[in-house]
């Protein structure tokens, strides 16, 4: 069957199935299980209304538990076991974690990831804040925003190709086609550099790609926050003789601090999952390994599910403070 036809069929079956499920399950509940007529009509309506939320929730809950909740538990279990031939497994305690910690590649990945965690959110937020502040003050600000925001739509793989061209290297006797090397030579560099092998600069050059993508996100959120600042506070500061820099750093930034934290944590999560950029540009060679790519290597190249799952749990561990903080805030908001 042609895949396009298959896709259309899936949409029809999927959408039809969803709508059909919701419609008929509701009909079934109201007409058959708890009919709203007869002697118990009143009680039946109440009962039906108690069940109905779960009918609405069921598909989503099923998908969430199978595709997100169950894997967390199962990964934890896998990280504590070892695969034996013949689809069996054996409990090995923390042996996988021990093995992982003794690997130089893992230490490199962890250290690199920590560096990513500092650099990418910091620069993305800072650039985003700068872009938001600048573009709010000029008439063509919306166009500027839209252009800085654009990399958000580009895939990490596409971005990797785009930046690989920027970092490209040609032999010294040829004209450079990579912008970075051309600039480097223009400003007095001796010889073109193969950037992707320059430790530790290569890691920073990979981070630049993610900063380039995430700045737009930070800018959009922070720009909305900046516009939400009450005008009076700024006017008061200006009347008191504050210069524009003081207004920005002493009046505006403190008032949007909570939004900055949100942006920072959101980008942090993106960073922890970063995989495609490293996979496509260096594949973790030349000491650019990160956790997500290390895990992919272990799972699908070395076929070592134990250590792979252990490294996935490390990512989970790094995410969990944010997870707890978000849940805590969400609960507070609901009350």
């Amino acid at each position: 069957m042609h895949p396009a036809f298959q896709a259309i069929l899936t949409i029809i079956i999927g959408v039809g199935g969803c709508v059909g499920y919701f419609y008929f399950s509701n009909q079934f509940l109201d007409k058959v299980v708890f009919p709203s007529r007869g002697p118990n009509a009143g009680r039946n309506i109440t009962r039906a209304n108690m069940v109905r939320p779960w009918l609405f929730l069921f598909p989503a809950l099923a998908a969430l538990s199978i595709y997100l909740a169950y894997p967390v538990v199962e990964t934890l279990r896998l990280s504590l076991t070892e695969r034996l031939p013949g689809n069996r497994s054996q409990f090995v305690g923390f042996a996988n974690y021990q093995q992982m910690l003794s690997e130089a590649k893992f230490k490199e990945a962890l250290l690199n990831n920590l560096l990513w965690l500092v650099v990418v959110p910091a620069f993305s937020t800072a650039f985003g804040l700068l872009a938001a502040q600048l573009s709010d003050r000029v008439r063509w600000g919306n166009i500027a925003k839209s252009l800085i925001f654009m990399p958000m739509a580009i895939s990490f793989v596409g971005a990797a190709v785009i930046w690989k061209l920027v970092y490209d290297t040609r032999p010294i006797d040829q004209e450079q086609i990579g912008a970075l090397n051309a600039l480097y030579l223009f400003f007095g560099g001796d010889a073109p550099v193969t950037w992707m092998t320059q430790i530790p600069w290569n890691s920073f050059l990979l981070m630049a790609v993610l900063v380039w993508i995430q700045t737009g996100f930070a800018m959009v959120i922070l720009s909305a926050a900046l516009r939400g600042i009450p005008e009076e506070t700024i006017e008061a500061a200006i009347v008191d003789g504050a210069n524009p820099f003081q207004v920005f750093f002493k009046i505006k930034v403190p008032q949007i601090m909570s939004t900055i934290v949100v942006v920072w944590t959101t980008i942090t999560i993106v960073v922890l999952k970063v995989f495609d950029i490293v996979f496509a540009m260096t594949n973790g060679q030349w000491e650019t390994q990160v956790l997500a790519n290390y895990m992919y290597d272990k799972l699908f190249r070395a076929n070592d599910w134990g250590v792979g799952s252990a490294s996935a749990m490390v990512i989970m561990l790094l995410v969990s403070p944010i997870l707890i903080w978000n849940v805590y805030n969400a609960r507070k908001e609901m009350q």
Binding site: A4, Q6, I11, G14, V15, C18, Y23, N26, P53, W54, F56, L57, P59, A60, A63, L64, I66, Y67, L68, A69, P71, E74, F127, L130, S135, R137, V138, G141, L147, I148, P151, M152, A153, I154, S155, A160, V161, I162, L165, D168, Q174, I177, A182, I221, A224, E235, V262, L272, K273, A280, Y296, L299, S309, A312, M316, V319, N326, V327, A330, M334
Partner: protein, 382 residues
């Protein structure tokens, strides 16, 4: 703010200039790839793309026509033609016949080759080769020229990548495969999440707050954790690797954001409308379909765009759940990574393939930016 102070300071200029600098810096890499995708292999490898708009000085290695095209005229054997194949706007400054000295002659000079053969090249590339004895050899004489060539762009790369009959780059197939993954993976979670979001927003039942908290928690669970357990599960229940697995995985991974976004939006809808409808005897199902869904259109659109961009741009899920060893179901991101590995130097193919895959999300982005921004603002956990 400057209006308030009543002075237009030099700061205004600084603001404009810094913003221009930033926009240029952010655009530069993408424009580079876009421009490169319209250049020929030679152009890409001999000069930076930023030179492509001005006429560029290129060192080219060209050949005269092969000796079997020679004609005899007045006792001389001659080969005549243009080095560029046809009349061109090129302007040759110097030329040579040996790779060691490519600047021996200026246009109009006569170069002596072996066997008494002479060759002369004019500035526009016209050449005349003559000899008293028949020239032999299979291929034409090499001529090294340094020429100013005017900017030139070509659609050949796109023709090569998209319309090639043998589909050597595999991009056409990958394009349709990507589409096949993306559309169901966008439509189905929207629908499933909308019902759940309605229940979480407007229906009263025990455990609701807990479920909302759980959704917020699942929002940040890295999908890396799900790879092995789900691959095992898919293999056990017989889905294996394929579209169905990819659709289900994308649905599962997209749901937390979908539910979160839609619930937040639906909670904000006016209570009166819904209560009036209930008083008038509408069932929850009717309220949902007739009132909530149409009113929630902006939120539905925001999420649909997110999910579309995310599934279109995804590599990891496709690698794990979709692409089997036959490679029949490969998607564009995977295909590009493959090209990066095997054709790392062939920028014309890489740039064009990358742009084919970037074009669709960019189109969606510029067309629906309003909804995307709204979704971002609602979706970042406060």
């Amino acid at each position: 703010m400057s209006a308030i102070v009543g002075t237009k300071s030099s700061l205004t200029w600084a603001v404009h200039l810094s913003l221009v600098a930033m926009v240029v810096l952010w655009l530069f890499p993408t424009v580079g790839l876009l421009v490169s995708s319209f250049r020929t292999t030679d152009q890409i490898s001999t000069s930076g793309w930023w030179n492509s708009l001005s006429s560029s000085e290129q060192n080219l290695t060209l050949r005269t026509d092969a000796p079997d095209t020679q004609i005899e005229k007045d006792g001389l054997f001659i080969i005549e033609g243009n080095l560029f194949g046809e009349a061109s706007d090129a302007d040759i400054s110097v030329w040579g016949t040996s790779s060691r000295s490519i600047d021996d002659y200026t246009p109009g000079d006569v170069a002596e080759l072996k066997n008494g053969t002479t060759v002369t090249v004019a500035a526009n590339g016209d050449y005349l080769m003559q000899s008293e004895v028949p020239m032999d050899g299979r291929r034409g004489q090499r001529v090294f020229v340094t020429a100013q060539t005017p900017p030139e762009f070509t659609l050949d790369n796109y023709r090569n990548v998209l319309l090639d009959k043998n589909n050597r780059q595999g991009m056409t197939k990958a394009f349709f495969n990507t589409l096949t993954v993306t559309i169901p993976a966008t439509v189905i979670p929207v629908l499933v999440a909308a019902f759940a979001a309605y229940a979480l927003a407007w229906m009263d039942f025990p455990g609701r707050a807990l479920l909302v908290a759980a959704v917020v928690g699942l929002l940040v669970v890295p999908l890396q954790l799900a790879l092995i357990p789900l691959l095992k599960l898919h293999n056990e229940i017989g889905i294996g690797k394929g579209y169905l697995g990819a659709w289900l995985a994308h649905t599962g991974f997209g749901l937390p954001l979908a539910i979160y976004l839609l619930r937040n939006y639906m909670v904000g809808l006016p209570r009166d409308i819904i209560e009036n409808a209930k008083v008038d005897g509408a069932t929850d199902f009717q309220i949902f379909v007739k009132i909530i869904l149409p009113l929630s259109f902006p939120a539905l659109a925001s999420f649909a765009i997110f999910q579309f961009l995310w599934t279109w741009n995804d590599l990891l899920v496709a690698l794990v759940f979709l692409i089997d060893s036959s490679g029949e179901t490969t998607v564009m991101t995977k295909q590009i990574v493959e090209l990066l590995g095997t054709r790392g130097g062939n920028w014309e193919i890489l740039a064009t393939s990358a742009f084919v895959s970037i074009a669709v999300p960019l189109g969606v982005f510029f067309a629906m930016q309003r909804y995307l921004v709204r979704g971002l603002l609602a979706g970042s956990v406060k």
